[in-house]
Amino acid sequence: MEENQPTQSPSHSILCIEDEQFIGELYARALGKAGYQVTVIADGVKALEAAQTNTYDIILLDLMIPNLTGIEILRSLRNPARVPPIRAKIIIITNLEQREEVRADIEKQADGYLVKAEMTPSELVKFIQRLPQN
């Protein structure tokens, strides 16, 4: 089954939930060059719908996006009552500063928390390639 393949296998698909168009483009370019299939969605509601199809291996989630916040999407995707559970790894990508208790709370539910300004697109690619295998 597809789920059992290592996540860093280049054929894997990534959903990038990011409303800043240029950042979305840059990430899609770098990840695409590394062999990932990337879909960029800028709208919270549409992004949640797409994530629920459970066809993605990795979800990059910005916290400030229109219509639904990233935190709401994260809560919904990581809701323990969800059947079947979302298999994708969820990486938060944000430039927002949070009170630390909020950040820790988000980090607990996600598989990674990255500040966009503190990495280049290729560093994001490296981070994703280094994610542990399922």
């Binding site: 950042i23 840059l26 927002l96 630390e100 909020v102 300004a117 697109p121």
Partner: protein, 511 residues
């Protein structure tokens, strides 16, 4: 009852002892007075045996006579005592000696009992009805009492005016309907209460920075919340809530922080893009453009990195000033950390025509550090060295073990140096050597921030400088083992520190 039984036994022992002693006296008198007609040994021992037996029975009987009235009084007291339920009424008819005295005493006791019963009943009534409780009602803090279904059974005057709903309209309403509270994390009042109801008989908790989501023009409320849960409370009240208003303080904090946070966010977005595009250029053009353009690209990249470091400085200074910088110290190999930070800075040095020489002793013990913050310190010191190194080309970075067993790291430049007159002000906010302002950039936050971070690590940041000969900045770090031991002594499991010293029993985060 145990005490009474003990008392009875002691009495028997004493009385029996007295009787036995008297018997012996009597037998001895008999033995010595009639020398001729001495009783036989058998007779003597028979008489002694009978005397012991009679003594035992007599002692028991006398003890019983004495105990009976006391027992009756004891029983009467237990009978009326509110804490001892189901005790039988004392029976006077069995008392053989002092029945009148006991009867009269019992009468007195029951009279007392009636009075205390009345008082208890009144108190009970008042306890049930919190609205008549003076303390609850006049408490200047908002107070809510909830039943098992989380309906409000009592709200004092302060509570009603705090949330802007009359007391009468609050009673029997569900707390969640009346108060729409937001918490800063997923540790909320309702999750706590649910857990408390599943588990222990009593539980208490408190929350900071709770927000009351307001309706209908009611002013915003920010407060700390404390709650107490008691499953077996007989008065149907399971949960007590108290609110401590901090609206003014928290909203001021929020505004200060959110201004910085907002600015940081606004700065970071273009920065992310700049760094992204620069990287694309580097990837695509590096080997195609002439060396001068390649050099410009490196400079662009290094400036973007520097801007990112400044943004982090601004954020951290705001945190220190708000007392919100919190470090999580973890064990790390200093050589590894220092090497990687210096390596990341080499581009910055290169575009300024400087070389970083890094020498790290091999015998360093592991350090307890907050990696990100310490990286910022090294970043700031090396950045300063690059800025102030003038025409000199080399910057030395060294790490070694001091005689005191601390890990000392120095950053040395051979540039302008700092005059002794301004050395003492170097670590204050916004301070910069005014004579050099035109020549060097910087926001004057770096050293202030570094000092705070190093202090929070238990170390010391110092500077040695001679004008015209350059400066050496150095800081010490404490070996991890030493920190862990100290933490153990202080009874805190985690190595968490604030910018102004230890923070004990606190959350784990680097704010």
């Amino acid at each position: 009852m145990n005490h009474l039984e003990k008392f009875r036994r002691s009495l028997i022992h004493i009385i029996f002892g007295i009787l036995l002693f008297e018997n012996f006296l009597f037998i001895a008198a008999w033995w010595f007075s009639s020398q001729k007609a001495r009783p036989s040994l058998i007779m003597l021992s028979t008489v002694m045996l009978v005397a012991i037996l009679i003594g035992l029975i007599a002692a028991d009987f006398i003890a019983k006579l004495i105990i009976e009235p006391i027992h009756a009084i004891w029983q009467a007291i237990l009978h009326i005592s509110p804490s001892e339920h189901g005790y039988p009424e004392p029976r006077v008819d069995k008392i053989q000696v002092g029945r009148e005295l006991v009867t009269s005493l019992l009468g007195q006791i029951y009279q007392f009992g009636e009075v205390t019963n009345k008082i208890a009943a009144i108190a009970q009534e008042e306890r049930k009805d919190l609205s008549r409780n003076f303390i609850a009602q006049s408490l200047p803090l908002p107070l809510f009492a909830l039943d098992a279904a989380e309906n409000i059974k009592f709200a004092n005057q302060a509570a009603a005016s705090y949330i802007g709903i009359e007391t009468a309209k609050l009673i029997d309403k569900n707390i969640y309907m009346v108060m729409d509270m937001s918490f800063p994390s997923s540790n909320t009042f309702d999750t706590w209460l649910k857990e408390a109801k599943l588990g222990k008989a009593t539980s208490s908790n408190s929350w900071e920075r709770v927000r009351l989501n307001v309706r209908d023009n009611h002013p915003e409320r920010l407060f700390d919340l404390a709650a107490y849960y008691n499953r077996d409370n007989p008065d149907q009240i399971e949960t007590i809530l108290t609110l401590f208003d901090h609206t003014k303080m928290y909203s001021q904090d929020d505004q200060a922080i959110s201004f910085v946070a907002l600015s940081v966010h606004e700065l970071r977005t273009p920065l992310t893009l700049l760094r992204g595009y620069i990287e694309v250029f580097e990837e695509e053009l590096s080997d195609k453009v002439d060396p001068e353009l390649k050099d410009f690209m490196d400079k662009m990249s290094s400036q973007a990195e520097q801007l990112m470091a400044y943004v982090n400085n601004i954020l951290n200074v705001a945190r220190i000033d708000n007392d919100q910088l919190e470090l999580r110290l973890q064990e790390a190999s200093w050589a590894t950390v220092l090497k990687s930070v210096v390596e990341a800075l080499s581009l910055q040095a290169k575009v300024r025509g400087k070389t970083l020489h890094c020498r790290i002793a091999t015998d360093l013990p592991n350090v307890g550090i907050d990696r990100l913050s310490i990286s910022e310190v090294v970043n700031n010191l090396v950045d300063n060295a690059i800025k102030y190194s003038g025409t000199s080309k080399v910057i030395n970075i060294e790490a070694h073990l001091t005689n005191e067993g601390l890990i000392e790291t120095t950053v040395q430049d051979f540039g302008l140096g700092i005059s002794t007159s301004i050395l003492p002000n170097l670590f204050t906010k916004f301070y910069r050597d005014h004579r050099n302002r035109a020549q060097v950039g910087g926001n004057g936050l770096g050293l202030y921030l570094s000092k705070a971070i190093i202090t929070a690590h238990g170390g010391n940041l110092w500077v040695r400088s001679k004008e015209g000969q350059g400066s050496t900045f150095g800081f010490t770090l404490v070996p991890y083992n030493q920190l862990a031991e100290q933490a153990k002594k202080d009874g805190s499991e985690d190595l968490v520190r604030g910018a102004h010293g230890w923070i004990k029993n606190h959350s784990l985060y680097r704010r």
